[in-house]
C-alpha cells in the first residue's frame, strides 16, 4: 500500500500543492490530472523518492518509502525515454532491466520488443527509431517488470492508437493482478475493467 500524507511540494519559489493526502491499495489505479505546471511530474518524483517533499511523508507498506527495498518494488518511467541513442533497442531493454535488478534472457527481451511492435527493429540503434518507437522501447519494460508499483509519467505520449490500446490492456492486467499504478496523462484513459481514481491538481 502506498500512502501519501499531507504532502507539500515546492519548485523554485512556488508552492505547487499543499496538504495532499491519499492512499493507494493493491489493485488500484490513480490518475493525476491538472493543467501544465500544476505539479504532476513533481508529484510523481516525490512519490518515487527522487526529490523530498517540503512537508509530509510518503510510506510504502507502512515504512518510509525510500531505500533499496522500496525501489525494488518500483517501476518508474519518466517524461524522458531513458533510451540511449547509440544502443540498439535490444541493448537498451537489457541494460534497463539489469539496472532494475531483473536481468532478462535474449528470448524474453526479444519477445517483449516483438509484442511492442518492434519486431525486425531490435538491432537498430535507437537514433534511427521514431519518437513513438523509442517510447515503445521504454514501455517494453512494462511487459517484463515484476515490480508491484508502477509510476508512469505520460506513458501514452507519442503512441499510435494500437499501442495505446496495448498499454491500456497491460495496465488492466497489472491492476487485476493486485498491482498499483500511478500515472499522468492528457489523453482519455480507458483501462478495461478498471475505474481509475483521480486527483486533480490545480
Amino acid at each position: 500500500m502506498l500512502e501519501a500524507d499531507n504532502l507539500t511540494c515546492q519548485r523554485g519559489e512556488r508552492i505547487l500543492f499543499t496538504g495532499l493526502s491519499f492512499t493507494l491499495a493493491p489493485g488500484e489505479l490513480l490518475q493525476i490530472g491538472g493543467p501544465n505546471g500544476s505539479g504532476k511530474t513533481s508529484l510523481l518524483k516525490l512519490l518515487c523518492g527522487l526529490s523530498p517533499p517540503l512537508e509530509g511523508a510518503i510510506r510504502w507498506q507502512g515504512a518510509a518509502a525510500r531505500g533499496e527495498d522500496f525501489r525494488r518494488n518500483l517501476l518508474y518511467l519518466g517524461h524522458q525515454n531513458a533510451v540511449k541513442e547509440e544502443l540498439t533497442a535490444l541493448e537498451n531493454l537489457h541494460i534497463a532491466s539489469d539496472f532494475a535488478g531483473e536481468p532478462l534472457t535474449d528470448t524474453q527481451a526479444l519477445a517483449a520488443l516483438a509484442h511492442m511492435g518492434l519486431a525486425g527493429r531490435e538491432h537498430l540503434p535507437a537514433k534511427v527509431l521514431s519518437q513513438g518507437q523509442k517510447r515503445r522501447v521504454t514501455l517494453a519494460r512494462l511487459l517484463v517488470s515484476r515490480a508491484p508499483l508502477w509510476i508512469l509519467d505520460e506513458p501514452l505520449t507519442a503512441l499510435d492508437v494500437l499501442a495505446v490500446e496495448l498499454i491500456q490492456s497491460r495496465l488492466a492486467q497489472h491492476v487485476a493482478q493486485q498491482g498499483m499504478v500511478v500515472l499522468t496523462t492528457h489523453q482519455a484513459l480507458q483501462v478495461p475493467g478498471v475505474t481509475p481514481r483521480r486527483i486533480e491538481l490545480c
Binding site: T8, R11, G12, E13, E55
Partner: protein, 246 residues
C-alpha cells in the same frame, strides 16, 4: 502543521534577534580595533631586524587566521544544514563565505606588501602563501557554485558538499604544498617567526584577531538577514518586516 510552524518560525525569530545583536558586535569590533591598533602601533616595540615594516603582521596574521577559521566554520554550518536540513545553518554558511574570501584576500595582499618591504619580492611561492592562494580559489569555487544554482535548496546542499570536500582537502593540499616547497627551495623564508616575538606584539595580534572575529560575526549576521528576507519574501513575517520599514 506543528512542524510546518516550527520550520517557518525559526528565521522569523532569528531575524529580530540578529537585528539587535548586530550593533553590539559592530560596537565590540570598533572598540577592539582601536585598542588593537593602539597596541600594534604605539605599544609594541620596533623589531630588531625588520624595523617598523613588520607591523603589517597585526593585520596580516589575524586575517590569515580568520581566513582559515571561517572556512572551517562555514563548512561546519553547511554540513549541519545538509544533515539536519535546517535552512538557517545553510544561510549562515552562505553569509560567511564572502567575509572569509575577503580575509583571504587581505592576508594575500598584506603578505605581498610585507614580502616586498622585508625581502624585496611581492610574491614568494612559500607554502603558507601558496596555500592561502588555494584557499581563495576554494572560496571562489564555493561562491560561484551557490550563485550559479537557482534553486536555493539545491544550492545549499551542493555548496555544502563542496565546502566539506574542500575542508577535507585543505590539510592534504597544505601538506602537498609544503612537501613541494621543501623539495624545490630547501629551507624557505619563514614568514612568522614566533621566538623573537615580544609579549606586546602577541597581545596586539590577539586583540586584532578578536576584533576581526566580532566584525565577522556582525557582518555575517547582517548578510544572513538579507539572505533571509530575499528567500522568504513571500512569507507573512517578511511582509510584516517590510511594512514596518516603509
Amino acid at each position: 502543521m506543528a512542524i510546518n510552524l516550527f520550520k517557518f518560525s525559526s528565521p522569523a525569530t532569528f531575524y529580530p534577534v540578529a537585528g539587535k545583536l548586530i550593533p553590539v558586535f559592530y560596537g565590540l569590533a570598533a572598540i577592539l580595533t582601536v585598542i588593537g591598533l593602539y597596541l600594534s602601533f604605539f605599544v609594541a616595540p620596533t623589531d630588531a631586524t625588520q624595523g617598523e615594516v613588520y607591523r603589517i603582521i597585526f593585520i596580516h596574521v589575524p586575517a590569515a587566521w580568520m581566513s582559515m577559521f571561517i572556512y572551517l566554520v562555514m563548512a561546519g554550518w553547511a554540513g549541519l544544514g545538509l544533515i539536519l536540513n535546517t535552512r538557517l545553518s545553510s544561510m549562515m554558511a552562505q553569509a560567511l563565505a564572502p567575509t572569509g574570501a575577503m580575509f583571504t584576500f587581505v592576508a594575500l595582499v598584506t603578505g605581498a606588501f610585507w614580502g616586498k618591504l622585508a625581502w624585496g619580492t611581492w610574491w614568494d611561492w612559500d607554502a603558507r602563501m601558496t596555500s592561502e592562494l588555494i584557499l581563495l580559489f576554494l572560496y571562489i569555487g564555493y561562491m560561484s557554485l551557490t550563485a550559479a544554482i537557482d534553486d536555493v535548496r539545491r544550492a545549499d546542499k551542493a555548496g555544502a558538499i563542496l565546502a566539506l570536500v574542500g575542508a577535507v582537502n585543505v590539510p592534504i593540499i597544505y601538506f602537498s604544498v609544503k612537501w613541494w616547497n621543501t623539495l624545490h627551495q630547501g629551507a624557505s623564508v619563514s614568514l612568522i617567526r614566533a621566538p623573537s616575538m615580544a609579549k606586546t606584539m602577541l597581545l596586539g595580534m590577539l586583540v586584532m584577531a578578536l576584533a576581526a572575529w566580532m566584525y565577522s560575526i556582525a557582518v555575517a549576521l547582517s548578510r544572513a538577514r538579507l539572505i533571509m528576507l530575499e528567500r522568504e519574501k513571500n512569507s507573512a513575517w517578511v511582509q510584516d518586516v517590510l511594512e514596518k520599514k516603509s
